[in-house]
């Protein structure tokens, strides 16, 4: 693995360091185990893309089931613009704060700022989950249970699967905070943070599809 900079002809601006994997690259100051990090982060990217297929097909299933309310409550009875907006904001801001955590990992030698941004991200993620669970609870009390109709079954296989991913990401984040506390910033911890960053940003991308198609599309 060479660390030379590749510039292709016709590219006149600053020579950029070679990017080894998707997401933020830590660069030459974090050379230790750069090769395994490239493999592990790229492998995780492949997994993310297969996850994208799962979500894409659940979106398609949801659209085919839009007409199948079977006389039960439909999208405009169950969804609220305000709570969808709050959840969207929580997730979008948490994506930004995770970006700030990635920068702190790359450019700072201490752990304080990194841990602070990670904690803010975790709180925003947990806030999103709490709000989503509260939403589901309200839907249940209005008769919107998964067994009510094909539409609700499709809704509850798509949106809570995203929520389940966020729960997994929060647990992973807590585990990584433990790793940072015990092992400081050793190579496996850094690689873990890079992969979690990809998962976190990816989940926000899936949420764009959910708030646009499910919530906004359902309310309009």
């Amino acid at each position: 693995m060479t660390t030379t900079t590749k510039i292709h002809p016709g590219h006149t601006d600053q020579a950029r360091p070679r990017a080894h994997h998707p997401g933020l690259n830590l660069g030459p100051a974090h050379q230790e185990s750069e090769d395994t990090r490239e493999e592990m982060v790229f492998g995780f990217w492949v997994f993310m893309m297969s996850d994208l297929i799962v979500f894409g097909l659940l979106f398609a299933t949801y659209v085919t089931m839009l007409g199948g309310t079977a006389g039960g409550p439909g999208p405009s009875d169950l969804f609220e613009l305000k709570s969808a907006f709050i959840e969207t904001m929580l997730l979008l801001i948490s994506s930004f704060t995770f970006g700030m955590a990635s920068l702190a990992l790359k450019y700072r030698s201490d752990r304080k700022v990194l841990v602070a941004w990670l904690l803010v991200t975790l709180l925003l993620g947990l806030g999103f989950l709490a709000h989503e669970l509260y939403d589901f609870h309200k839907m249940f009390t209005e008769g919107g249970v998964p067994s009510r109709s094909g539409f609700l079954s499709a809704f509850f296989s798509l949106v809570p699967l995203h929520g389940l991913h966020v729960i997994g990401a929060c647990i992973w984040l807590i585990a990584l905070l433990g790793q940072i506390a015990v092992h400081r910033l050793d190579p496996p911890t850094k690689t873990g943070l890079m992969r979690l960053a990809i998962l976190w940003h990816f989940l926000d991308v899936v949420w764009i599809g959910i708030f646009s198609l499910v919530y906004l599309g359902g309310i309009v």
Binding site: K6, H8, H11, Q14, R16, P17, A19, H21, P22, G23, L24, N25, G27, A29, F42, W45, V46, M49, S50, L52, I53, G56, L57, F59, A60, T61, V63, T64, L66, G67, G68, L81, F85, T88, L92, S95, F96, G99, M100, L103, K106, Y107, R108, S109, D110, V113, I198, H201, F202, D204, V205, I208, G209, F211, S212, L213, L216, G217, I219, V220
Partner: protein
């Protein structure tokens, strides 16, 4: 001093990356507020509104990939981009086929299921 001693190039890279995250956040915020604002405060025709929502969503997805996941058109990142494009191709075939078959079925046999 909690920053590592940054070389001049690193310092430049750092401010560029910080700017990239801020741009991404700003653009994503605007592209979120437009569809929510239109849905909440205007009486736009449903058809136009659907188009605006879909357009904003597609642009916002590209913004997230570009500024948060750092997927660019630079030659040294082609593998990631190719993987995305291939996944989108597979998705387009499967999602398009699903919608085509099922809505054709609804049209012929279950008109109640059509929106």
């Amino acid at each position: 001093m909690s920053y590592r001693q940054l070389s001049e190039q690193e310092a430049r890279e750092k401010s560029g990356e910080l700017r990239s995250y801020l741009w991404g956040f700003g653009l994503a915020l605007i592209l979120t507020l437009i569809p929510f604002g239109l849905a909440a405060y205007t009486q736009m025709a449903a058809g136009t509104l659907y188009l605006v929502i879909a357009g904003c969503a597609v642009i916002q997805i590209v913004v997230h990939f570009r500024f948060f996941l750092h997927i660019t058109l630079a030659r040294n990142k082609r593998e990631d981009l190719q993987l995305i494009l291939f996944t989108v191709l597979i998705l387009a075939i499967m999602v398009g086929g699903t919608l085509w078959i099922l809505f054709n079925l609804y049209y012929r046999m279950m008109p109640d299921m059509l929106p």
